[in-house]
């Protein structure tokens, strides 16, 4: 052990940690005494834990904005005839004669989608927990490159500033849907949001992609190179597997979105015709010919589909971890869980065109993508059954994190199953772009990923801030949100089955769609109440940072390495040597063991009473 450590530490120092204290053993004990001013410690920090918190808090701010936007358009959908005069002080000219401007409505749904998918559930979720947990759970002192990691956050911050600015410009933010399909997104004549707003959107996303790539390269390198002694890939907690594969997906797919954005910028500003052809708009025929709007959709969804797995896989990993810890049982089928993550990652790259069955794409391609899409349901089903099997005959502690994990499984099932309908091209003809789709992805990727995020925050809060969150408030938050989510999205399926189209400012013009006024009102009330309920969480979060009950080192009696660190964590994570790993991360309730958990760093020689036959050799 001791002989191996220097090599390991050299690797870390070599790749570019800017903190000299963490690369040499003799400095380790001085970590907290380094002269760091406020700026270095909390703002331009290279410590993965601080960066994780920066991502988390930025993510929370974005979630409040994204949620507020959704409440605004739910007001419009629930009460299409009502006067919204009272919003005039906030929205100014976007309220015209007490009515929401229809283009502003489209801007609201566009920005809600963009913010939630990218800024909250990609940066806020995977940015927070990949950063926080990778070094702590694999036994590393920091990321492979702390500096790049810091850059990753600050590119995200810059991207946030640009996107936030776009909310306040005169022509309004981007309004062509979060999928920004051209020609609508390419032509300011078509919608005012496609002017400056769309330009800022594209710039912001370009910066965002840079941030993702910097982060992703770092996560992958760290997981491959900086695992502590004994931490083989088959001993990694499932969280790390999930973060690792998420980073791989991001690294391979985000550049494609970048290329799509770049080509769109060219079409918008430099007169090219990648996506434009045969257009007569605002009384003028444009000179562009030969481009294809469908090409953009292929490029967009080549990122867009892996993106939904980028959002959900970290949540899957954390939920696996939290379910096992609180059921006091090993995760069922550890290898099958890894296998299904690998399967999902691979398949996620070859299903993108199921978003495009009715775009005029060759129907043969539709058939191919239907086959591939429905295959991806199999690994997802395996994961669900394994989670259920993990609960079976456990000794379950229903902590807030555990409740959110159970909620995750419930929502993932509810939303995932309807994907089987949408993946079937013949059925998608009717369901495409209806509220059935909206309900489907809000359950399976929106709400589920949010539940994963909350589960993660409640579970790892003691390690983040050295204090506990208030559990009672947590329970109230959970039940309110869980019931709220179902009340919002279950009825949305009914509306969708009847064919109610998404992104409609009002449906009153159509006989076919106007029978659901009551249900729409109901959904709006549920959505707004559930959103307001989130302030319970926000209060709990910030209150507990400063006033929460003090945490112990390992409050959940968990087995993974992060719980072997002290309550107050310095730069470098472990004050002494990094512990070596001897066993897999799920030795819960092992027969013959003294306690109901054996941490990963306990050697087999100390647990002779509980060793299984094949483990005897390793004593």
């Amino acid at each position: 052990m001791a002989a191996n450590l220097p090599t390991h530490a050299q690797v870390q120092g070599g790749i570019g940690t800017t903190e000299p204290g963490i690369s040499h053993d003799e400095h380790l004990h001085h970590d907290e005494h380094h002269d760091q001013n406020f700026l270095q410690k909390y703002v331009f920090s290279t410590d993965h834990k601080v960066i994780a918190k920066q991502f988390l808090i930025t993510g929370i701010l974005w979630a409040i904005i994204g949620g507020t936007l959704s409440s605004l358009f739910r007001l419009q959908l629930g009460w299409p005839e009502a006067t919204l005069e009272w919003l005039q002080p906030f929205l100014g000219k976007w309220i015209e004669g007490g009515k929401l401007n229809p283009e502003f409505y489209l801007a609201l749904v566009t920005m809600h989608g963009t913010i939630m998918v990218f800024f909250v559930l990609t940066a806020g979720l995977s940015g927070t927990f990949s950063n926080f947990l990778i070094p702590l759970q694999i036994g590393a002192r920091d990321m492979a490159s702390g500096f790049m990691n810091m850059l990753s956050y600050w590119f995200f911050f810059l991207s946030s500033v640009v996107m936030f600015t776009s909310l306040f410009i005169e022509t309004g933010p981007a309004a062509a849907g979060w999928t920004i399909y051209p020609p609508l997104s390419a032509l300011p004549q078509a919608i005012s949001g496609s002017g400056m707003g769309q330009t800022l959107w594209l710039v912001s996303m370009a910066l965002f992609i840079v941030s993702q790539l910097l982060g992703g390269v770092n996560y992958i390198t760290t997981v491959i190179n900086l695992r502590t002694q004994g931490m083989s890939m088959s001993k990694l907690p499932l969280t790390i597997w999930a973060f690792f594969l998420t980073a791989v997906l991001g690294l391979l797919s985000f550049p494609v979105l970048f290329s799509a954005a770049l080509l769109l910028i060219f079409d918008r500003s430099f007169g090219t015709s990648f996506f434009l052809s045969d257009i007569y708009i605002a009384g003028k025929a444009l000179s562009n010919t030969g481009g294809s709007p469908i090409l953009f959709q292929h490029l967009f969804w080549f990122l867009g589909h892996p993106e939904v797995y980028i959002v959900i896989m970290p949540a899957m990993g954390m939920v696996s971890e939290i379910l096992a810890t609180n059921a006091r049982k090993p995760i069922f089928g550890y290898r099958a869980m890894i296998g299904s993550l690998l399967g999902i990652s691979l398949l996620s790259f070859i299903v993108w065109a199921h978003h495009m069955f009715v775009t005029g794409m060759n129907p043969f391609l539709g058939s191919v993508f239907m086959f591939l899409t429905l295959i991806i349901a199999v690994p997802s089903a395996v994961k669900t059954f394994n989670w259920l099997a993990t609960l079976w005959r456990g000794n379950i502690r229903l902590t807030t994190a555990m409740l959110f994990s159970i909620g995750f499984v419930s929502l993932f099932i509810a939303g995932g199953l309807t994907g089987i309908v949408l993946g079937n091209a013949a059925l998608d003809i009717q369901m495409h772009n209806t509220y059935f789709v909206v309900a489907h992805f809000h359950l399976v990727m929106g709400s589920s990923a949010f539940f994963g995020l909350w589960a993660g925050v409640y579970h790892w809060f003691p390690k983040m801030f050295g204090r506990m969150m208030d559990e009672k408030l947590g329970y109230i938050h959970f039940w309110l949100t869980f019931i709220g989510v179902y009340l919002v999205f279950l009825p949305m399926h009914y509306v969708g089955i009847a064919g109610f189209p998404r992104r409609y400012y009002a449906w009153t013009g159509f006989d076919t769609f106007s029978q659901f006024a009551d249900l729409n009102k109901f959904i709006s009330v549920a959505a707004i109440v559930a959103f307001i309920g989130q302030f319970i969480f926000i209060f709990n979060f910030f209150y507990s940072i400063f006033r929460g009950r003090r945490a112990t080192e390992n409050p959940w009696n968990s087995t993974t390495l992060e719980w072997t660190t002290p309550v107050v964590l310095g730069h470098g994570n472990w004050p002494g040597e990094i512990p070596a790993v001897h066993r897999w991360p799920y030795d819960y309730s092992k027969p013959g063991a003294a306690e109901d958990f054996i941490p990963q760093n306990v050697p087999y020689s100390q647990t002779q009473s509980s060793n299984l036959p094949y483990e005897k050799e390793m004593e």
């Binding site: 229809p102 283009e103 489209l106 062509a176 399909y181 020609p183 609508l184 078509a190 052809s277 045969d278 257009i279 007569y280 010919t289 481009g291 294809s292 709007p293 469908i294 292929h298 059921a327 006091r328 090993p330 069922f332 089928g333 009715v358 005029g360 129907p363 539709g366 058939s367 239907m370 349901a377 199999v378 395996v382 059954f385 259920l388 609960l391 456990g394 000794n395 229903l398 159970i406 499984v409 509810a414 089987i420 309908v421 079937n424 013949a426 009717q430 208030d470 009672k472 039940w479 019931i483 179902y486 089955i497 009847a498 189209p501 992104r503 009002a506 013009g509 159509f510 076919t512 249900l519």
Partner: protein, 354 residues
């Protein structure tokens, strides 16, 4: 004044909540429950899990039954009946899986809640079970895919030769409809020729276009296949006709199509639904700008005889707009030829991008 009052009430409410919160913390410290690892809350949450399952499940079932009729707008096309059957078959399978897994999830959460002194069952894996629950979903999915694939190829296959051709063109923010006239051939259109009168961009130097006519709504005969040709002249739109289970994007520069066979006339549907104002509606289902939500077109399904009469009564575009026709007679111009050549390049380019 009222605003101030409301604000005051809100602030006082927050203060009350804050005090309750502190009180709760203090009681838990004094009662010692804050230091117990697993307390009463565990039991309460376990019971809530069961209540959620039972009450939530009942509410779901009730609301589903209550809304079932509204969810199912009447169907009026041949393939619509087939996909509808497939949809509800799939939903029944999904419903069974949904119910079973949700019951297991919440019943396990309740049944295996923490008990002092009990130990969880160490059960890390079991290959047999895992193979079974990998294979079963795979087989079920294969069945669903196969059924879906057969239906999909039938729907998207070539339209029957005798299908009636109708063209719809999407624009911000309404639909234009064009029929090929007696010769059953649609004439060439060119987006560069579009103006306030010639909204379609008719190129009347093409003889096929001379008898084409435009209509304010779509008329189709019952029981006869209809081939919808779809184009857009500005941004993406989508033709969505929920009663016929028809949906296809309208893409500028890349004409698309969809064929279907209507099974009920508008009058029959009015009688069936008991709604004398019933109309088949075509909605735009791809975000296209400010007026997206109002891009409606009515579709009238006639008895075949009525349709023939209606068709015969239509006047061609060229007849109604002699000025436009005249402009083409004066200049069998190079411009038009050049444009047509340029337009002919487009489909190839669009195809290549696929």
């Amino acid at each position: 004044m009222t605003t101030l009052g409301i604000l005051l009430v809100l602030v006082l409410l927050l203060v009350v909540f804050g005090l309750l919160f502190r009180l709760q913390i203090l009681t838990s410290i004094f009662s010692g429950s804050s230091t117990r690892e697993v307390g009463v809350s565990n039991r309460v949450n376990a019971i809530l899990c069961i209540l959620f399952l039972v009450i939530g499940g009942a509410a779901f079932a009730w609301s589903f039954v209550d809304n079932y009729d509204k969810m199912n707008p009447p169907i009026a096309s041949v393939h619509g009946h087939a996909t509808e059957r497939m949809f509800w078959t799939t939903m029944i399978i999904l419903g069974i899986v949904f119910t079973l897994t949700q019951i297991l999830l919440f019943v396990y959460s309740y049944k295996y809640q923490h008990k002092d002194g009990r130990r969880a069952f160490f059960f890390p894996h079991n290959n047999k079970i895992e193979v079974i629950w990998t294979v079963i979903p795979a087989v079920v999915m294969a069945g669903l895919v196969f059924a879906g694939w057969k239906e999909w190829t039938r729907i998207t296959g070539p339209a029957p030769k005798d299908a009636i051709v109708v063209e719809v063109m999407g624009k911000q923010f309404n639909w234009l409809v064009r029929y090929p006239g007696r010769d059953q051939k649609l004439g060439v259109v060119n987006y560069r020729l579009i103006d306030a009168t010639n909204e379609f961009g008719f190129d009347l130097s093409d003889q096929n276009g001379i008898d084409d006519f435009v209509a304010p709504e779509i008329h189709v005969p019952k029981g006869h296949p209809v081939l919808l040709k779809i184009r857009s002249r500005d941004v993406l739109h989508a033709v969505y006709m929920p009663h016929f289970r028809v949906q296809m994007y309208a893409v500028p520069g890349m004409p698309t199509k969809f064929w279907f066979t209507p099974t009920k006339t508008t009058d029959e549907m009015r009688a069936q639904t008991g709604n004398p104002k019933f109309n088949y509606e075509l909605a735009c289902n791809q975000i296209c700008g400010r007026g997206h939500f109002a891009m409606k077109l009515n579709i009238v399904v006639d008895e075949p005889d009525d349709y023939v009469n209606w068709f015969a009564a239509q006047k061609s575009f060229s007849e109604q707009n002699p000025d436009v026709l005249a402009s083409f007679k004066q200049k069998p111009s190079k411009l038009v030829e050049k444009e047509a050549a340029a337009a002919a390049v487009v489909p190839t380019a669009a195809k290549a991008s696929l």
